[in-house]
């Protein structure tokens, strides 16, 4: 992948936010097309590597909203919440900046490579302060300070009690960035961090835009839709709750999924949010 060094980044007005850092980066590298506008409305979407079903749905719900408000999604390109945020941003036609936790010249492969190519193709940027650095335990927290500095506001999707996302939040707080956290179930380990941020008042509750009412529902499958309005369920559970043979329910689920009203992930179904 082709990359370039930014000479004298301190002089570029679009990167002035990085000067807020107590330890600003010495050098900066990027891959992709440089456009000033991309840095204008940066929002960092961060979270755990172990994304849950809930985290996935949150991303699917809020990223398209952010994109429609012409915000740039900034994240850390790690698997889990970060990569999913990049991915959904691209799917909804937005621009995204991936701040790498390793040198820009590090060879990517598999899904990582595909995603990186897609980001560049869609006029996004890959960003790093190193050229040939291998990923290591210390590089990720260091990378996090760039994520915090580049963004105007930060949304934490899912975070455990001790996690990299909370490091980003701490830095962002010092930099006086706006901090938002998505509340989660209090039983989930991966929401303890976000809920704690809200509880102690470090972050504001992020709820996204309120959903618009659904209209285009098929009458026959309405009970099924009603059931899924509040829950994520498997075909078995739906069949049991509606008291219908699983063969019929399965056929209905397939049809609704093909129509785009439902989403299926790992055997579980949920309503697609049409905003």
């Amino acid at each position: 992948m082709e990359y370039q060094k930014i000479t004298g980044w301190q002089k570029l007005p679009e990167l002035s936010q990085l000067k807020d850092l107590t330890t600003p980066p010495k050098e900066l590298y990027f891959a992709g097309q440089w456009q000033k506008e991309i840095f204008k409305n940066g929002v960092a979407v961060i979270g755990s590597r172990q994304m849950t079903e809930y985290g996935r749905r949150v991303i699917e719900k809020i990223i398209p909203q952010l994109v429609s408000q012409k915000q740039t999604i900034i994240s850390g390109f790690m698997y889990g919440v970060d990569q999913y945020a990049h991915q959904i941003c691209l799917e909804s036609g937005g621009k995204t900046i991936a701040v790498l936790g390793w040198g820009i010249n590090f060879k990517l492969e598999g899904f990582d490579l595909k995603l990186a190519e897609r980001i560049i193709k869609n006029k996004g940027l890959l960003f790093s302060e190193w050229e040939n650095q291998q990923p290591s335990h210390w590089t990720f927290p260091v990378r996090n300070r760039l994520v915090a500095a580049l963004a105007k506001k930060i949304i934490v999707i899912e975070a455990a009690e001790k996690s990299g996302s909370l490091i980003t939040v701490k830095i962002a707080a010092k930099l006086k960035r706006e901090i938002w956290a998505v509340p989660g179930p209090i039983t989930s380990r991966l929401s303890t961090g976000t809920n704690a941020l809200i509880a102690v008042g470090k972050a504001k509750i992020y709820l996204g835009n309120l959903p618009s009412p659904q209209t285009n529902l098929n009458k026959k499958s309405a009970p099924l839709i009603n059931l899924l309005e509040s829950d994520v369920l498997t075909a078995n559970e739906i069949a049991r709750k509606l008291g219908q043979p699983v063969a019929q329910i399965g056929a209905q689920l397939s049809l609704l999924t093909l129509k785009g009203q439902l989403v299926e992930k790992e055997g579980k179904y949920y309503l697609k949010n049409v905003n």
Binding site: Y79, A235, R240, K241, V246, G250, A251, T257, L258, G267
Partner: protein, 512 residues
Amino acid sequence: MLIKIRSIANLGLETIPVDIEVDVASVGFPGFTIVGLPSKAIEEARERVKTAIVNSGFSFPPKKITVNLAPADLPKDSAAYDLPIAIGILAASGQLLTSSSDLQRMFFYGELSLDGTLRPTRGILLLALFAQKKPGSTIFVPHPSANEATVVSGIKIIPIKNLGVLVNHLKDKEMITPLNQTEIKEDIDSLLPDFDLSEIAGQEQAKRALIIAAAGGHNLLMWGPPGTGKTMLARTLPGILPPLSSTEALEVTRIYSVAGLINPGEAIVKRRPFRAPHHGISAAGMIGGGSHPLPGEVSLAHLGVLFLDEMPEFPRHVLESLRQPMEDGQVEVVRVASHIRYPASFSLIAAINPCPCGWLGHPRKECRCTPRQIARYHRRISGPILDRIDLCVAVAAVEVEKLALTNPKAIPKMTSKQAKIQVIKARALQNKRFANLPIYTNSQMRNKEVKKLCFLTPEAENLLKLAVEKYDFSARSYFRLIKVARTIADLENNKKITSIHMAEALQYKQVL
């Protein structure tokens, strides 16, 4: 004097006649030699035969004894020649007077123990089937495994407890009553399955998938965290498959007879086999092997179910060795000594965990695998194997309290017997459809037959097009989907595949 006794050698499922020529010479140093490519087990027959003869109250002639196993170039490996050798020595030394013409129509087969009793010996059914081709034959076989032969008509079966009794019988002193023929009954309703479908709580979709798999002969992949009942579900499959027909039962019994796996006293294998090899198995154990190849797990699962639990844990080359049997319904084992073909037409049920730790997607437990680990785990099952698996179903963790045992809306659970009746009907439809073709089930259709024999309604076709676009199906998955939809339509006795059938088939698409 020279005596010729008839017996057989089993090479795989083939039977080759073997003549045991015994010569007790009147001149020469006393000695006992066996020639004719004997294995170690046959070399040691000398000691067993000598001691058994003496312990049965006969005398072992102190003369030069030569035993030849003809044909001389066929390597022989079986302890079953003990009995013919012993009878040959007794006859050649004049302790057993029978005309040699009688011996022409007698087959001796069995392993001796030192006190002269006969031990269970494998391959009796094959001997009986061979003797059936020579009219008027009598077979002398060990009492413990003699029942195996009773399914074969047209021969006389003499069960032998020990050498002394046999000699008395041959001398016409005290006759042994031959065994009666048993008929193979096809009424196998009385056979209770190990596990009944109705015993399993929840997992309705997996059960439905099992019925479809049984009806269309499809292979099935179950996918879910540990402890969700994958093994138990797989165990119900033999109970919903149609009963073995008498020819099928005989075919299965032959394999089990060669492998020596028929329990003493049992005549015929009536149950569909269920084999669940552990993932430590070697390739030879899976497809058959040994210098004189014995049937492997794929052949022991012939006409039954082969269940591979934790499929990605099996060594790659073992999984790859399944490709030939899954394609051809038989397996060829080639060794220096021989080249053997065993039938191996089975339904494969594979169970895999969603990730190496097993908890991905579990409602309460947390998965700690990285995406890379998960991808690597799934890659262990190669594309060609996945291509041969038509159905894929998620077996999610069941939250026991949610099973709602007293749910008023609950539909009564289907029993294995009800499922079996559905399956038999669907299979009958398929038999009619494939009357002029060398295939029996929907899963065996090739693309050509799918195009010719599967009629889709326009709505079903539209739906299929939509699905192909949405999920980016390959041509192979496209045909796989139609085959599954065909089976679902068969279960409903529908000539055409409607959009509902197609939509249900989509539920079982592959996720890996």
